[in-house]
Symmetry: C2
Subunit: 196 residues, 2 copies
């Protein structure tokens, strides 16, 4: 049976990653979208096991000690992490796994599992990214400029990523991610055994 592969998908704020991931996941039941564990309090409407695995700080620390995370980070006083367990279960079922994480988290995952494939979703241009951030209407001009600077820094640190997908249209981005996932399943390491 086919074994699943893990794909990290990163991208700067405003690039449209959520929309791309939603479209990608819609028609594929052979894909598992990894749900993070966190110590923060659930917000209104958030469901345990759907939006996050909500756990307490002691549980989180114990999982760190037991090496049960592919990556984790502390952010504004709360812990967030990717539990190995669900990823491994999905891969054992032959599913590919999507990790929606940042560049720093991706480095941690690669340290533990170098065969993880990293895809960076990039905007077609900086102007396009600025327009999208402005169009959302949620951020002040100063905040938008900060996000743009951060996006450029992220892109620089993402130059070791395996693939860059340009989100010019959601359809193109999804098509490219699907192609990358299929291509990565054509690696000799996955196929030599067929011909022993």
């Amino acid at each position: 049976m086919k074994t699943g592969k893990t794909f990290i998908i990163s991208g700067p704020s405003g690039v449209g990653k959520s929309t791309v991931l939603r479209e990608l996941l819609r028609d594929r039941d052979d894909l598992y979208f990894s749900i993070s564990a966190t110590t923060r309090t659930p917000r209104e409407g958030e469901i345990d096991g759907v939006h996050y695995h909500f756990i307490n700080v002691d549980q989180f620390r114990e999982m760190i000690q037991e090496d049960e995370f592919l990556e984790y980070a502390e952010y504004v006083g709360n812990f967030y992490g990717t539990p190995k367990r669900y990823v491994d279960e999905a891969m054992a079922q032959g599913k590919d796994v999507i990790l929606d994480i940042e560049v720093q988290g991706a480095l941690q995952v690669i340290g533990k599992r170098p065969d993880t494939v990293r895809i960076f979703i990039a905007p077609p241009s900086w102007d396009a990214l600025e327009q999208r951030l402005t169009g959302r209407g949620t951020d002040s001009p100063e905040k938008i400029q900060k996000r743009l600077v951060r996006a450029k820094v992220e892109l620089q640190t993402a130059d070791t990523y395996d693939y860059f997908v340009i989100n010019d249209t959601v359809e193109n981005a999804v098509r490219e991610i699907n192609a990358i996932m299929l291509a990565e399943h054509c690696r000799p390491s996955e196929r030599m055994e067929i011909l022993q």
Copy 2:
């Protein structure tokens, strides 16, 4: 403008490579199938510039000296080679290039152009390959056994290839090759400049 990429497609005798390539090329005018130069005499119906570039031995030797081949070999007293010129012209036009060459020729190409992507078309199983060779009805049982041994040797030497495409059905093989070609155009090296 997009620059083309070169893809080597290799595979053992009987694997169905010609059919896969024909289907692959049928609907894509952005693909250039490289035509070899040869010193052998044209056979009935063969057209210069379509089946081969037919040249004489002096011309061939001069092209070797001028380093005008991506790879070449001598086979049963005749030279065969891949001229750089047409490959470079097609790539400059933004076309991807397919080189239908053997594992040894592929090594020569990689030596000159390490960014060439190598795809090996493999049978779904050795039994399937044997059945196809038998089904063609053109080879004696002894010759079929020789071809099988040769295919296994080729596969061993192809373990450094970038991709293995299993030709279980032509449709699947073509789909995988198209995915590989699209994925390879998502490499950071091709896309960093968009975001400078």
